[in-house]
Symmetry: none
Subunit: 284 residues, 2 copies
């Protein structure tokens, strides 16, 4: 709940003087955020510490912090909010809603990711002798994408979206093998089983999945991602986007770790594709 609404709802819980402060803020919030604690106290006809206590009561660190929160709740220009598609939405409407929900989901995912986990994952990946990407169902395309990306790095990669192949691959895995498993829920039995098998072969298992999930527990390293999934649609949407972005992050970390000379290599890969394309007109 945003701060302004919070003031509104808690109005009855405040003491007499605190309510005076609340009234002033609700009447002209724009003035409030630019006022000093002294000014505001005078406007509400209370003492400065009362204003301060009022702020603390709203779970803020103090007056300046409170102003920050208030400012944010005032800037309600409908940010990236996940919005549900309605039955009677037109193309224009549902297109926007879905794009906005996707952006909102990425935002949530971003905040939930632990950069240290990313860093450790990059550590492991850079030392890998072979990287395998595994994903089932909707995550199989994510795994394919990862393969495509890391293939460009001139690292031995493979990718499976088939449980039997995964299991066979695990048996042949060794200490230098790194497996990257993608699963939104982290509860797909077959995949959790694969993680266990792989670890029995001393391979390293990195999972991109949900926090505290069976898969996360079964992995050497879990990069946990929180994604708000719109369950109305019964189709995973946002989680793929988040996982793909995690791939981008890992790939970026990988290239950074390898240094500038390595990037020359990427350039050459890209140039190798060029001749398969039609030239762009003149302006470039």
């Amino acid at each position: 709940m945003n701060t302004l609404e919070k003031i509104q709802t808690n109005l009855s819980n405040f003491s007499k003087s605190e309510r005076k402060v609340a009234e002033v803020i609700l009447t002209s919030p724009q003035t409030a955020i630019h006022a000093s604690i002294a000014t505001l106290a005078k406007m509400a006809d209370v003492s400065e510490p009362t204003v301060n206590r009022f702020c603390r009561r709203l779970d803020t660190k103090g007056f300046p912090d409170f102003k920050l929160h208030l400012a944010q709740s005032l800037a309600n220009g409908t940010p990236y909010v996940s919005r549900h598609v309605d039955e009677d939405d037109g193309p224009d409407s549902y297109t926007n809603k879905i794009f906005e929900s996707s952006m909102a989901a990425l935002d949530v995912a971003r905040q939930s990711i632990d950069p240290m986990a990313i860093n450790r994952a990059v550590d492991i990946l850079t030392q890998a002798q072979h990287i395998s990407f595994f994903g089932l169902g909707a995550s199989s395309s994510v795994a394919h994408d990862a393969q495509n990306k890391f293939f460009r790095f001139n690292v031995p990669v493979s990718c499976f979206d088939d449980v039997l192949m995964m299991r066979m691959s695990c048996i042949n895995a060794s200490a230098g093998s790194v497996l990257v498993l993608f699963s939104h829920t982290g509860r797909t039995k077959a995949l959790v089983e694969v993680a266990r098998l792989a670890r029995e072969s001393n391979a390293q298992v990195i999972s991109i999945t949900a926090k505290d999930s069976p898969l996360a527990r079964e992995s050497t390293l879990a990069v946990t991602v929180e994604v708000p999934e719109d369950t109305d649609m019964f189709i995973p949407m946002a989680s793929r986007l988040a996982h793909l972005t995690v791939i981008d992050v890992l790939a970026t970390g990988f290239t950074l770790r390898r240094g500038p000379r390595f990037r020359e290599n990427l350039k050459r890969v890209k140039e190798a594709i060029r001749e398969s394309r039609f030239e762009k007109p003149s302006n470039l």
Copy 2:
């Protein structure tokens, strides 16, 4: 213009030290709004007055006022700016940059999409007797994802990431066939050729690609998407995300067109997967 964008655009107008401050703020704006001027100065390795001058340069009354503006722009609409990853960025920094760039890219893509093209694409898809998804290279995983999604709709679908298979598939295509081609550039010779072949077989060709590209011209319907691609990295990143989101939009349009009874079907598909998963603890 919001404060964060303003910092981004004026980056070149700042002096050396002010730019250091700008970098710190752009890297972690959330930290910045909660920091004191002293902390921020230390983070940017400049003096406190420099931070203050930086604030004034952005038409604010001073540091506290600046924080207020920044807080608002963080809460507001599109605070995300596409930013390049630096050589010496840490995991925290590049993770944020990439997520933010992705969000910014989706925002640009959203604005560039013509809802009427979406609508027509949905028209065509709902009437299809068979849908094939084609993509090469980085787009092959996009095509796979589309297949996975539309497969749930109980529509005959196929997916190819191999040119020969695509061509064979085109020969066998008929009037009821719909091909969906994914290509960021729209300049991949092989794919443009496939589009032509398909149309010769009277199949409908929908392309998700760049505006005014050879592929767009060769298609029955082009859903054109503009994506700001960070060419520094030599790896396609944002375009896949945008294309996947377009898939989501098309799939959504598809289900809406089919009506509520159709969505019951999706629910059943989802429930069919359930038993392959570990139960979630008790709280749900």
